[in-house]
């Protein structure tokens, strides 16, 4: 099968001006992915499905990733003339600039070919941000198996899929308001006493017992 770089080159030849980036995966599996822009994503997906060399007719997995906002610190070396010794070698100082990269949501598609028995080719679609621009084009018209999985990503991450035939919650009930797999999801406070809590449960336990004396005048904290 072709490498992601070769696929990208062929895609750029077929769709000039499309936004396609190869994102390398530093892990040992070396599953590099293609980041697609939203404008041409559907057309590129249809091309990948119908292309005789690739024939990626099965979308086996659709998942979501919540990338929180990141502070990127860039270090640049600036050389200024030494004030104490103007004729001598310049002083090199490091300047750090901080940049805030906004968080976004990402949808990852794993594509396999049943006809030609190769794969996976991994696609990524990113949203603009996590609040008002959280929509990507739906690839359900291209691969039917995306239908339920995109509903799951909508339910758990809040990504809207444009063109999905039936976009509604699939795991949580329809009246539910949160998106549980986001990093900022806060569970309802429903801690029950456990004899040996550890990990995140221990953090919840410390917040709950012994009951803070001033906070609750009714006595031990009710758990319901």
């Amino acid at each position: 099968m072709e490498t992601p770089d070769q696929i990208r080159d062929r895609l750029l030849a077929r769709f000039p001006g499309a936004e396609i980036t190869v994102i390398t995966n530093p892990g040992t599996a070396a599953q590099h992915s293609l980041l697609l822009g939203a404008a041409q994503a559907r057309a590129i997906a249809e091309f990948l499905r119908d292309d005789p060399v690739l024939k990626l007719d099965q979308c086996s997995n659709v998942t979501g990733i919540d990338w929180p906002e990141k502070e990127i610190v860039e270090t640049t070396k600036v050389s200024t003339p030494d004030p104490l010794n103007p004729a001598g070698p310049p002083k090199i100082t490091e300047q750090k600039t901080k940049r805030l990269q906004l968080g976004y949501l990402e949808v990852v598609y794993h594509l396999y070919s049943v006809a030609l028995r190769h794969g996976p080719v991994i696609l990524r679609l990113r949203t603009g941000n996590r609040t008002d621009q959280a929509s990507v084009p739906s690839l359900t018209p291209v691969w039917r198996s995306c239908e339920f999985q995109e509903r799951e990503v909508f339910d758990l991450f809040g990504v809207t899929f444009d063109g999905h035939p039936d976009l509604r919650r699939i795991l949580m009930w329809d009246e539910f308001k949160d998106h549980p797999m986001r990093r900022d999801y806060v569970e309802p406070d429903d801690y029950e006493w456990e004899p040996t809590p550890h990990g995140t449960v221990l953090e919840k336990a410390k917040a709950h017992y012994p009951a803070p004396p001033a906070a609750n005048a009714q006595g031990p904290r009710p758990n319901v």
């Binding site: 009246e175 549980p180 999801y185 429903d190 029950e192 006493w193 004899p195 009951a211 758990n223 319901v224």
Partner: protein
């Protein structure tokens, strides 16, 4: 014939067990209405065809040839709750499924019993911190027998059924100790929770469940 739960001052039996056995060998059965009622009730408990997750596989195995729950009286698993006596909650109860479980419980006619099979049905189990996991079905319906395990073996389910049978045989058919279905003042339905914006509303049924008491450790 059966071992009933010990009461504070049991009346001295007019006929001893040895005499009763001797009479039975001769073909004469001495019993009481309570014993007959509870014997019939306990030895034909028909479960509802109800499995949620992995524990359901063990429940199915218990109903099949090697373990055979039918020899304990659970001859058929009824597909309709209207015809079932026993609700074996086997598997994780998600918050989305919980109102449906409670509706099925309400549709079952009295006398009805509930067995919480497996860690998930008892308390939420290994998925207790999940966003969609109900921390035990006993938050909403009254549970008679808890069978721990993940999953409990079919033999454990059979043991739980035998414990339920012993519990039924200990029932009194009149008076204040009578079980729920023989007392007019006890409700047989449980309120069904609504789907709220972040959790079920109410998150538990206060008549059936109280939070376990917190035991503060010295550390």
């Amino acid at each position: 014939m059966s071992d009933s739960t010990p009461s504070p001052t049991p009346p001295p039996p007019s006929v001893t067990e040895a005499e009763r056995d001797e009479l039975r060998r001769q073909g004469i059965l001495l019993t009481s209405l309570q014993e007959l009622y509870t014997w019939g009730n306990s030895h034909s408990v028909w479960p509802l065809n109800f499995g949620l997750a992995c524990c359901a596989i063990e429940m199915i195995a218990a109903s099949m040839a090697k373990f055979d729950i039918a020899r304990f009286g659970s001859e058929v698993f009824r597909p309709s709750p209207r015809q079932a006596d026993l609700l074996i909650v086997s598997g994780t109860v998600t918050k989305k499924m919980a109102p449906q479980v409670i509706r099925l419980w309400n549709q079952m006619p009295e006398p009805k019993y509930c067995i919480a099979m497996g860690a998930c049905a008892i308390s939420g189990g290994p998925f207790k911190q999940g966003y969609n996991v109900l921390k035990g079905i006993d938050r909403f319906i009254p549970v008679d027998i808890y069978i721990p395990g993940c999953p409990p073996r079919p033999e454990a389910l059979l043991h739980g059924l035998v414990q339920l049978q012993k519990k039924i045989q200990g029932f009194k058919i009149s008076g204040p100790d009578a079980p729920r279905h023989l007392r007019a003042d006890q409700p047989c339905n449980c309120p069904v929770p609504e789907f709220g914006e972040h959790d079920l509303e109410p998150p538990a049924n206060p008549e059936v469940w109280t939070a376990p008491p917190a035991i503060v450790r010295k550390d």
